[in-house]
Amino acid sequence: MRYLTDRKRATGMGSSKSGTDHHWSMQVSSIALIILVPLFLFTTGWIIGAPYEEVVAYYSRPFPAIVAALTFLVGMMHFKNGAQMAIEDYIHGLAGRLTIIGVTILSYAIAAVAIFSVIRLAL
């Protein structure tokens, strides 16, 4: 007699290995971004082009700094997962895997640069 349930034995056996996790993370991040992106446009989008002193003073306020950091965090993870889907459709084999690794590194790097910079400006 097997003590594992059928569902448990099936988990992770599909070609994607991870079930609906990827799709679910895209849905959650997309809804978060629908809220964040307009806020980002009217804070960071608004201050881009301003002189140095104004920019530094602007990000010392909590709201623009938190919105900018959150938008880059959620946005770059959404990009990483979305670009991965596109790569899986068009580029196959080793080249595809290497492209996914490259895009993942790029996503984390851009997120890290932006978030570090915002924190440094804010503090």
């Binding site: 446009l41 596109a86 932006a114 910079s117």
Partner: protein
Amino acid sequence: MADVNRGNRPLSPFMLGQYYKFQLNSVTSILTRITGNAMIVGAFLIAWWLLAAASGEGYFKVVDYVITSWIGDLVMFFSVLGLWFHSLAGLRHLAWDNGYFLDVESSDKLSWGIIGGSVVLTLLTAIIV
């Protein structure tokens, strides 16, 4: 083996234009991907600008010059257009995922809504911001 042509068949994305007709829904779907991926340029520029602002006035002036130049303006304008298009198309995807508006007629209507809406929102953003 029945399928003698295995591995030598045209795959779906590359059938478009040659074997499949361009349709409103396929074009807006492809544009969703293109805009999503293209926004990496804008994200890179803004992250660079934030890094420069955090580094000091000298470096900030260099990146500020780039991002406010005509080419920087162009990238930012198209990033905003891509952002609104991707956002509206993403909302349609969320509706589709939950089983709404899946028929051709409502999909087509929403396609025009996405195209028109993203242009209007981009112009509004350009005026206000």
